[in-house]
């Protein structure tokens, strides 16, 4: 009996292991598209017609469908025809080749058949091969929540686009993988997307570290990559194939300093930096602008990713009486920071940035989140139609509030779809993105333009937590501030 129980446990355990082992990052199941046709289709050893039908017996109205049924099926079955997608010229070529192989058709019948084929199995009528775009984000590991938001939003954008008829009649297909938040995995996923999935372009829904690792892979392969919300400066410096949606970290840092000095009228500021690509580049931008505005930096310290105990840092900072604390980090660290600052009685205004921008921040920090101000790309009170559509539809589809990460991934798909409408080659995509002006088909817009370093220029928004919600605080449009 005991043995039996153990056995039963082992079976269950094995089942669990197997269920875990099934890779989470399964690519989005592509809706099976019709077989791509290699035009012109080569008829394989078509037997010569034995019974050539009399042309005179053709129906008076020259019905294309009947012709197809009657003449073509004498030699080969019609599946080949029905699965093909060809333009009128291509069909003409095919029919002429068939005639040369012995198909009996007079001129009138020939043009009726071509007309029918082009109409029924033409490029416009049949759903064409989908356009594959690659996507990677962390779906496991400590940053999985953001990766999931990004993926959800990207899928939503693809759905919007396909529901509206796709890109020039072709559907978009999102192929996504998990980078686990690790640079090495991001690089190998990038190779996979390029080599085995043959995507026309890709989107990084990942953090700065993995995105920096993937960018050179795309650059070398000549595939355009858009970084949704990874904001380290070096990402776009990789090369001319790499574009960014999110606001460059140094710009956002600058805006943070502007906000602290002008909107809050603070004099003394303390800086807390999360010790990774994201935090370090934000702080660099902040300090650059702080120096220009004459802000006094009374305290500066770095902390590691995933830090949960800010108490010693707060104890050290408190006697210096800063007016504001500019703290870079993500929502999990930020939730700890604001709660512990309140416990310790720190009075300074906490100013964050887009890393805080998640409903998770408010959920975890609760009442302690009240009054926290952040700079971000997502202005939830924006009057833009697409912003509101995105926020409502996201909530409807996933039963949770959208965040900045999701909005940026959504916009990456929107920008890419816009570019793909101008052409699907890398050159065409690059040209289209660089030519983008005052683009409003996005959740974090309007997008004013792309500069030569492939950075997006657009107003930077700032939000404050009020009554448990991110609400509008200020918007920064000064061209000198928001241009790279």
């Amino acid at each position: 009996m005991k043995k039996l129980l153990t056995l039963a446990f082992l079976v269950v355990l094995t089942a669990l292991i197997v269920s875990c082992a099934t890779p989470t990052p399964t690519p989005v199941p592509p809706t099976k598209a019709p077989e791509p046709t290699k035009a012109p289709a080569q008829p394989t050893a078509a037997p010569q017609p034995t019974k050539a039908p009399e042309p005179t017996k053709a129906p008076a109205a020259l019905d294309g469908a009947a012709l197809l049924q009657e003449r073509c099926s004498t030699c080969h079955n019609l599946d080949r025809v029905k699965s093909a997608t060809k333009s009128k010229d291509q069909w003409t070529a095919t029919v002429e080749r068939m005639i040369s192989k012995g198909a009996k058709l007079n001129d009138a019948e020939k043009s009726a058949l071509i007309e029918y084929l082009a109409k029924t199995y033409g490029a416009a009528a049949a759903p064409a091969e989908p356009i594959k775009i690659g996507f990677f984000s962390p779906l496991t590991g400590p940053t999985a929540a953001d990766g999931q938001s990004a993926l959800n939003a990207a899928k939503l954008a693809v759905k919007f686009i396909n529901d509206a008829g796709g890109v020039n009649g072709r559907k978009l297909e999102l192929i996504n993988y998990d980078d686990a938040g690790k640079p090495d995995q991001a690089a190998s996923v990038a190779r996979k997307l390029i080599e085995s999935d043959k995507v026309v372009a890709a989107i990084s829904g990942a953090y700065s570290g993995p995105t920096r690792a993937a960018a050179p892979v795309f650059q070398q392969a000549g595939v355009v990559m858009l970084s949704a919300y990874a904001i380290h400066p070096d990402i776009t410096k990789t090369g001319d194939k790499i574009f960014r949606i999110g606001t460059l970290a140094t710009i956002q840092g600058r805006v943070g300093a502007e906000l602290v000095a002008k909107n809050l009228k603070a004099k003394k500021v303390a800086i807390l930096t999360i010790d990774n690509d994201f935090g370090v580049s934000l702080t660099a931008g902040f300090k650059e602008q702080a120096a220009k505005l004459g802000l006094e930096i009374v305290f500066e310290q770095k902390y590691p990713f995933g830090e949960k105990d800010f108490r010693p840092i707060i104890e050290k900072m408190k006697p210096l009486n800063p007016d504001a604390v500019y703290a870079t980090g993500y929502f999990a660290e930020a939730a700890q920071l604001v709660a512990q600052a309140k416990d310790a009685g720190l009075k300074a205004q906490i100013v964050g940035q887009e890393g805080y921008d998640s409903p998770q921040f408010i959920k975890l920090a609760g009442a302690n989140a009240e009054g926290v101000i952040i700079t971000t790309d997502l202005n939830r009170d924006s009057k833009e139609a697409m912003t509101q559509k995105f926020l409502t539809e996201y909530k409807k589809a996933y039963n949770e509030d959208a965040d900045m990460v999701g909005a940026s991934a959504f916009d990456a798909v929107q920008v890419l779809a816009y570019a793909l409408k101008q052409g699907t080659t890398t050159d065409a995509i690059q040209k289209a993105i660089l030519g983008l002006k005052n683009f409003k088909d996005c959740a974090t817009g309007p997008f004013l333009y792309y500069d030569a370093s492939r950075e997006l220029v657009r107003p930077v928004s700032s939000q404050i937590v009020k009554n448990g919600k991110f609400t509008f605080y200020a918007e920064f449009t000064d061209p000198k501030l928001i241009a790279p």
């Binding site: 995933g306 949960k308 006697p319």
Partner: protein, 305 residues
């Protein structure tokens, strides 16, 4: 102000380290296995506690018409449940894994343990359990008072952690030193074969060992979840290696040493962060302390020669 405050904060941090590490020490003491999956039990404890807490809160709130009281009650309901489930989980881990690897090369147990830890974490991250997102555990101080002195302040949650830790440690001390089974544990830790020869039921000792150790890990998960107001699937990542620093620092297998080491480590980390600043992340500090200590006391703080 600052030094006393940092010290009191460090003691709270130490409490969580100690609760996690004692289970490890106990397992190592008898089985000589590096039980990495213990951190998975810790995360699972937090998860079970959270479920029990949310369930109880939904039940109590309309009944009591006092949200604060309902939340406090729910916490005291969730803690024992989490501990119990974690304890059972520990026993199952022994019965299903270590029972078969015990006595073979320690590498086998270690690899099995790492695999088990990954399995538990990945399972927790599945949407039908905890999902990829952090969940709040808003129990606050569970009715504990706030302690304000001129030198330092303890928030209600900090008081809660200190009180629960002290009570649990007292119980463990009693079991290990004042009961037959505890004496059996000590005997088995010294030499399992000899203990078995003189009539100690070693299997029972080991089962109890896993049960108690895992219960403490479950309690640690709940307390840390409440302290950070955050429970998430990968919360065992850092403890999976840091608890070993505490165990090795204390002298492998020594319960008293583990307690001392937990306190030393928490104080070292807190003051290094407070005074040395951005020199190095706190996890690096933990290993620095370990290396320094092992240079002078290779068997740990209270390790037996």
């Amino acid at each position: 102000m600052s030094i006393a405050q940092n010290l009191s904060n460090a003691m709270v941090l130490a409490s969580t380290y100690i609760l996690i590490a004692i289970g490890l020490t106990m397992v190592y003491g008898v089985l000589k296995v590096l039980h990495i999956a213990h951190a998975g039990v810790y995360a699972s404890g937090a998860f079970i506690g959270l479920i029990a807490f949310n369930f109880a809160r939904e039940f109590f709130t309309p009944l009591l018409e006092d949200a604060r009281l309902a939340s406090n009650l729910s916490f005291w309901f969730s803690l024992p449940i989490a501990m119990l489930v974690a304890g059972v989980m520990g026993v199952l881990i022994y019965l299903l894994v270590y029972r078969y690897t015990w006595g073979k090369s320690p590498t086998i147990s270690l690899v099995a343990s790492v695999g088990l830890f990954t399995l538990i974490q990945d399972l927790l991250q599945k949407p039908f359990l905890l999902g990829p997102r952090q969940q709040p555990y808003p129990a606050g101080g569970a009715g504990m008072p706030r302690i304000e002195t001129p030198w330092f302040t303890l928030t209600p949650t900090q008081v809660l952690i200190l009180v629960v830790t002290l009570v649990l440690l007292a119980i463990v001390y009693f079991i290990l030193n004042r009961t037959r089974i505890g004496l059996g544990w000590q005997a088995a830790a010294l030499d399992p074969e000899m203990a078995a020869a003189v009539g100690v039921n070693v299997t029972r000792v080991i089962l109890l060992n896993f049960f108690i150790g895992s219960m403490l890990a479950g309690a640690a998960g709940v307390l840390v979840g409440v302290y950070d107001n955050m429970v998430f699937a990968t919360m065992g990542d850092v403890p999976s290696y840091k608890a070993f620093v505490v165990v090795v620092l204390g002298g492998l297998g020594s319960v008293a040493g583990t307690i001392v080491a937990g306190i030393v480590l928490a104080i070292a980390e807190t003051f290094m962060v407070a005074f040395a600043g951005s020199l190095m992340p706190r996890d690096a500090i933990a290993f620095l302390v370990l290396i320094l200590l092992l240079m002078f006391r290779p068997r740990g703080l209270l390790g037996r020669a």
